[in-house]
């Protein structure tokens, strides 16, 4: 069942189109990921869905409620975790959760119970009475997530939940999100970490320059890529250009230069290595290693978006 249905959602800032008519839907119970580089339009999309940004064009329905026209009603069903911690620094962990519960109209007893339950869940019970401002980044993020689910929302929106957090905390947060999802929370998250999307999401949309360029289940994406084959060759440091030679000899293969000594050959079918080795031999190229690469989501992302994987991680060429 579609819990969130988005059609032709568009955001323009003056002449600049930040989100260009995207359509997708999120099913109840899944983790849906928006994967894209900096400036792709991930935050803008979340802001439009949650009522923090005006929608230029298009529609979004959450559990049948119009997010554009009935924003306040729809907001009652949303849990929202922004890309920066945005709780009250002068209040302690417990007070923050209690207050956030009140903003969703929870009764006092319900709030109290829920706040303690969540502090336990996110492992912050011991620091419940310390001010939020004194928390570490990882703790802050965990409490912010707890605040996002205090009212048991239908869908939890998370904007880059692990950005700017150390590896250990990030792992804890991912585990927490998987647990939450197992208990039935539908999750919509954005990320620019490919591994994160691969590990967490049931389905992924690749978003680049405000457009969704690919949308599929994580398994489907991996299967598609694994239908073909990629072989990586490590060669001697010759003056010749191995990729050019290979392209000449095997027009059906795609060849990619990784570094001065390493190349990758991709094909939609299984690759026969003997003829390739022969070509290297004919050109007096030393071959030190040949290994089959299991395509990861990273390769797929690079293939589809044409964006170098390094750029996604370090911030593209926008900022």
């Amino acid at each position: 069942m579609d819990i969130l249905k988005v059609e032709n959602l568009t955001k323009k800032y003056g002449n600049f189109t930040a989100v260009a008519g995207i359509s997708f839907s999120v099913q109840k119970g899944e983790i849906f990921g928006f994967l894209g580089p900096n400036g792709a339009g991930k935050t803008t999309t979340i802001n439009m869905l949650t009522g923090l940004a005006k929608v230029t064009e298009g529609s979004a329905y959450l559990a049948g409620i119009d997010c554009v026209k009935e924003t306040k009603r729809a907001q009652g069903l949303m849990g929202i975790v922004a890309d920066e911690s945005n709780l009250y620094p002068e209040m302690n962990g417990w007070e923050n959760l209690n207050f956030c519960g009140a903003l969703y109209g929870l009764e006092k007893n319900e709030r109290k119970e829920r706040a303690w339950e969540l502090l336990e869940l996110v492992g912050l019970k011991e620091v419940a009475h310390k001010p939020f401002g004194a928390y570490s980044r990882g703790m802050k993020r965990r409490l912010t997530i707890a605040a996002g689910i205090i009212h048991n929302p239908e869908v939890l929106f998370l904007d880059e939940p692990t950005t700017g957090i150390d590896v250990k905390s990030a792992r804890e947060i991912r585990k927490m999100l998987l647990d939450l999802n197992k208990r039935g929370t539908t999750i919509f998250l954005t990320t620019h970490y490919i591994e994160e999307a691969e590990r967490l999401c049931d389905r992924i949309a690749f978003i680049v320059d405000g457009k969704i360029v690919k949308i599929d289940s994580t398994r489907g994406l991996l299967e598609e890529a694994q239908r073909g084959q990629t072989v990586q060759f490590t060669l001697g440091n010759g003056s010749l250009k191995p990729c050019e030679i290979l392209r000449g000899a095997f027009p059906g293969y795609r060849c990619q230069v990784i570094d001065a000594k390493t190349i990758r050959v991709h094909s939609g079918k299984a690759i026969d290595l003997i003829p390739i080795v022969d070509v290297f031999k004919d050109n007096s190229l030393a071959l030190y290693e040949a290994k089959v690469i299991r395509p990861t989501l990273e390769e797929i992302f690079v293939q589809i978006t044409g964006i170098e994987a390094k750029k996604i991680k370090t911030g593209g060429d926008k900022k």
Binding site: L52, K54, K72, Q75, N86, P89, N98, Y104
Partner: protein, 244 residues
């Protein structure tokens, strides 16, 4: 019901976190005290405490409320916690009323600090306290909403401070509390009638000393209009500016 729970908790949180902090409380006490002292020194004789009471009360409210909201809102905007209000499933008008109610109450309390002082010093018989309370309430509301308007128009705390002073000092000068409006240069007089404090101060003068010039009912009506206008522009600004 849900709206009421949100309202109550926003009010209580702001009271605890901002208004009832020691610096604010001491400010609320020292400020009227300093004003009274200043008048005492100026007049070089036994001061007519009852005569200056409306002025001191109005000043206490004005200075206690306008910058309050300007600071708390810009502060919450910067820590991004203000977003939580925009994302809450509660009507923005109710949220902003909750956000301002703490400052209004703080202003009202501030106004009665000098009254408590005066009680020990002079006879306060014959004052229409209901009218006093009404005007104190509306001075607090209009000053708070003016602070809100400033807060939603600027983006930095220091700008908010500067702007509220930019409005407050001319208001004190123009409202007729210390310089009677008829003694002001003719070109400034219309300005006097364009600020809400003039009407609130006039009601206070009428209720406390029978010295006001305007009809009390009309003044209340004008104060209500000011409140509505300030509040409506503020919430509209929030929707326009902060929901991009």
């Amino acid at each position: 019901m849900k709206a009421w729970i949100a309202f109550k908790n926003i009010f209580l949180k702001d009271m605890r976190n901002y208004y009832l902090k020691p610096p604010n409380i001491s400010w609320g006490i020292i400020f009227p005290f300093a004003w009274t002292l200043m008048f005492f020194l100026r007049s070089q004789s036994t001061v007519d405490i009852r005569g200056i009471l409306p002025g001191v009360m109005a000043m206490s409210i004005l200075f206690g409320t306008t910058s309050m909201l300007a600071v708390t809102i810009t502060f919450e905007r910067r820590s991004r916690s203000f977003e939580r209000l925009l994302l809450a499933p509660i009507d923005l008008n109710i949220l902003m009323l909750a956000k301002t109610s703490g400052a209004v109450l703080f202003g009202i309390i501030n106004a009665f600090v000098p009254v408590v002082f005066a009680l020990f010093l002079v006879d306060l018989a014959g004052i229409n306290w209901l009218v006093v309370l009404g005007s104190v309430f509306f001075i607090a509301v209009t000053s708070t909403f003016l602070g809100l308007l400033i807060a939603v128009t600027v983006s930095e705390v220091f700008e908010a401070q500067t702007f509220s002073n930019f409005f407050r000092f001319p208001m004190v000068f123009l409202c007729g509390l210390f310089i009677p409006i008829r003694n002001l240069p003719a070109i400034l007089r219309p300005l006097s009638y364009a600020i809400p404090l003039t009407y609130g101060a006039d009601i206070l003068k009428t209720a406390i000393n029978g010295e006001g010039h305007l009809m009390v009912g009309l003044s209340f009506f004008i104060l209500i209009i000011f409140s509505l206008v300030f509040f409506t522009i503020s919430t509209r600004n929030i929707k326009e500016k902060w929901i991009h």
